[in-house]
């Protein structure tokens, strides 16, 4: 499944790159891309575990930038 998730309060471009790296490392993620410009995370992950993976992704993003929120 492929989903676009809006990120709010994503303030730094280098952080976006770090988030992308972190999300890609989560098992079950086929591809992930964080665009600082569109403030969006494009996540392609296993259908069955999508919600679980999304939660992990949120955690990974917060580790990089604590104020950043994933809008669902």
């Amino acid at each position: 499944m492929r989903k676009k998730i809006k990120l709010t309060d994503l303030d730094c471009a280098a952080c976006a790159a770090k988030m992308e790296d972190a999300v890609r490392k989560i098992p079950g993620v086929n591809s992930a891309s964080v665009s600082f410009l569109t403030q969006k995370l494009t996540l392609d992950a296993d259908d069955g575990r999508f919600d679980e993976i999304l939660k992990q992704a949120e955690c990974a993003c917060k580790k990089v930038e604590p104020d950043c929120m994933l809008e669902r």
Binding site: D11, F36, K40, K63
Partner: protein, 620 residues
């Protein structure tokens, strides 16, 4: 300015005022430190807080943390004013940067402002304003002059002209009459239109375009990936450099701790790679946004990058360089007036739906009287034989003439030649050919002008036709009589021939050349308006049918890449210069702050130039 930015601005303002007052107060010692901590706290408490939280998460090379170390360090060596100033400038710079980014993001959003807000649904004679997503296929909607057409459909009633410039970049309005297809995103200009919806909103042209441009940010260019990789080692390297600079020289040469620590702090201030990481994707995004404004949809930064390196452009003929419609281009009668010959041929072919027959009827302009035609006999691959008013009329190619025992004349023109014979005597022939698009020659000349090495024409048509078109347009190489598989083969052969960094672009109409579009480095589909297959298969979609958009697209791509490169060279150049000067003790904190945030702001401003496509490809 959003509330968050306003708050920061207020804090920076208050802190600056306090800071300036303190600079002129004659105080020393601990009192001075405590007093300077007040404006420092006002300006930078959130940076300190974020730094603490990020350390807890194990993010050592976070810019907040580095900024804190730099400023706290400055306090430690007694440089109170510098510490406050660095924090102030850092906050101010971040503010500028976020303003510049949101501005360019907004201007891209404005470019893409083609999403319709509502539709006027017709229900039992009355109109109801609804969300376009609620409208079903088969519903009828009304569009008043000045309104955006919300969904794709067919005009039922009303005549108007529509402005397609948001989709195609084409300033001339198109006519819309009953039976015509109209596309969402166009603006209705003059008359009320009633439209039967043909596609749901999610599949409408507007939704497709928006999705495509949004997704393009996810397909990153190589340059962008390089910068992200570079940033990953840049920050740790600079921080380690700072540590070494602070520790090694004083230990080796003894003494001068505070001087070396100050130099190390300068390193920390410029260790954030944000300017680079930001400006490169921003340039690409701007370039893609600007191109879409001109009716050129680019599916990702990687394709934009490839387009800038194109050296071979391969064209499909029919529908790409030619209009794909057949017209009578010459009439060569032998024994009767031109109009008579044409009418005779049209009448004989009046029972056929072949494109050639249709173009004969179109050229005639009068509706043929079919009742005069009898004994219609189609001769496959040759033509027709009919009886008109007691006379035997044969219309077809040279082979048919031979069969009839008539000596047909060869024509010097290229195209499809239709010969006419009546009762065994030759009456003359009519030349029908596909028309070359008005701007096809301009497109080829434009490509030559911007330094494309070779242009190639591939066609399934006869050799003479292909060669004639190529010669007329100034195309270097022609391969004719190709089947679809043959086109793939030719493209593969051409790909082998190109030089190391060069790229090959194939331009087709997207109808039956999907395999070739996929095989080429860059597949460019023409006339994307309304054609799903084209949008699907190609990397770049030209929304209108104009081949002259290709040199323009290459121009935009090159300009975007140039801006991205300028930013890389500029940002890295300034940073390395300040690093060197800092290590030698020739730069101070102020210069370091400029190297960090000043460069970011300038890079963002430069990147936003990529948006401005102006309308010419010769832009520098």
């Amino acid at each position: 300015m959003d509330p968050k930015q306003k708050k920061i601005l207020q804090r920076v303002g208050a802190s600056t005022v306090l800071f300036l007052i303190l600079l002129f107060l004659p105080i020393q010692g601990t009192g001075k430190l405590l007093l300077f901590l007040i404006p420092y706290g006002i300006a930078g408490w959130d940076v300190l807080w974020k730094a603490v939280r990020n350390i807890a998460h194990g993010q050592v090379f976070d810019e907040n943390f580095l900024m804190c170390v730099a400023t706290v360090g400055a306090f430690g060596i007694g440089e109170y004013p510098e510490a406050v100033a660095v924090m102030l400038f850092y906050q101010l710079g971040e503010l500028f940067q976020s303003r510049a980014v949101s501005r360019s993001r907004q201007s891209i959003a404005a470019l893409m402002d083609i999403r319709p807000d509502y539709a006027n649904l017709e229900e039992e004679g009355s109109l109801r304003r609804v969300d376009p997503e609620e409208v079903q296929v088969g519903d009828t909607i009304a569009v008043r002059p000045g309104e955006k057409i919300p969904l794709d459909g067919t005009v039922l009633e009303g005549s108007s002209s529509v402005n397609t410039s948001a989709l195609t970049g084409e300033p001339l309005p198109r006519d819309a009459n009953p039976g015509d297809e109209v596309l969402s995103g166009c603006i209705n200009l003059t008359g009320l239109l009633h439209i039967r919806v043909s596609r749901p909103f999610e599949e409408s042209t507007v939704s497709k375009i928006l999705e495509l441009v949004e997704n393009s940010a996810a397909k990153k260019a190589k340059t962008e990936a390089f910068i992200t990789r570079f940033a990953r080692w840049y920050t740790p390297a600079v921080v380690i450099g700072a540590l070494l600079l602070a520790a090694v020289p004083p230990l080796l040469f003894s003494g001068g701790w505070s001087d070396w620590i100050q130099r190390a702090l300068i390193f920390l201030v410029i260790s954030c790679p944000c300017a680079l990481v930001l400006s490169v994707p921003l340039s690409f995004f701007g370039g893609i946004g600007g191109a879409s404004r001109r009716g050129i949809l680019i599916k990702g930064g990687n394709y934009l990058e490839a387009l800038a390196k194109v050296e071979t452009v391969v064209f499909d003929k029919t529908g790409t360089l030619t209009k794909g419609t057949f017209h009578v281009t010459a009439i060569h009668p032998e024994q009767m007036p031109e109009q008579k010959l044409l009418e005779l041929a049209a009448l004989a072919e009046s029972y056929s739906e072949h494109p050639i027959s249709r173009s004969l009827r179109e050229a005639c302009q009068t509706e043929p009287d079919r009742s005069a035609v009898s004994d219609v006999q189609e001769i496959s691959g040759r033509g027709v034989r009919v009886r008109i008013g007691g006379k035997l009329v044969s219309v077809g190619n040279l082979k048919l003439m031979e069969q009839e025992g008539v000596c047909g004349k060869k024509c010097s023109l290229t195209g499809t030649i239709v010969h006419v014979a009546v009762d065994g005597s030759y009456m003359g022939h009519i030349v029908i050919s596909d028309e070359v698009k008005e701007d096809a020659a301009e497109a080829v000349a434009g490509l030559k002008r911007i330094g494309i090495r070779s242009t190639v024409l591939l066609t399934g048509d006869a050799k003479e036709v292909g060669e004639e078109v190529a010669a007329r347009l100034g195309i270097d190489e022609v391969h004719s009589e190709l089947l679809p598989a043959g086109k793939v083969e030719q493209v593969e052969r051409l790909m082998e021939r190109k030089t190391g960094n060069g790229r090959l672009a194939f331009v087709g109409d997207g109808i039956n050349d999907a395999p070739v579009l996929a095989r080429a480095d860059i597949g460019i589909a023409m006339g994307g308006l309304g054609s799903d297959a084209a949008i699907e298969a190609a990397d770049i979609v030209l929304m209108d049918d104009r081949p002259s958009k290709i040199p323009e697209a290459v121009g935009i791509a090159r300009r975007t890449l140039r801006i991205a490169r300028q930013n890389i060279v500029f940002a890295l150049g300034v940073k390395f210069a300040i690093l060197t000067l800092g290590a030698l003790g020739l730069a101070n904190m102020w210069e370091a702050v400029f190297a960090d945030v000043g460069v970011s702001v300038l890079a963002v401003l430069n990147a936003s130039r990529a948006l401005k496509t102006g309308g010419g490809s010769s832009d520098s």
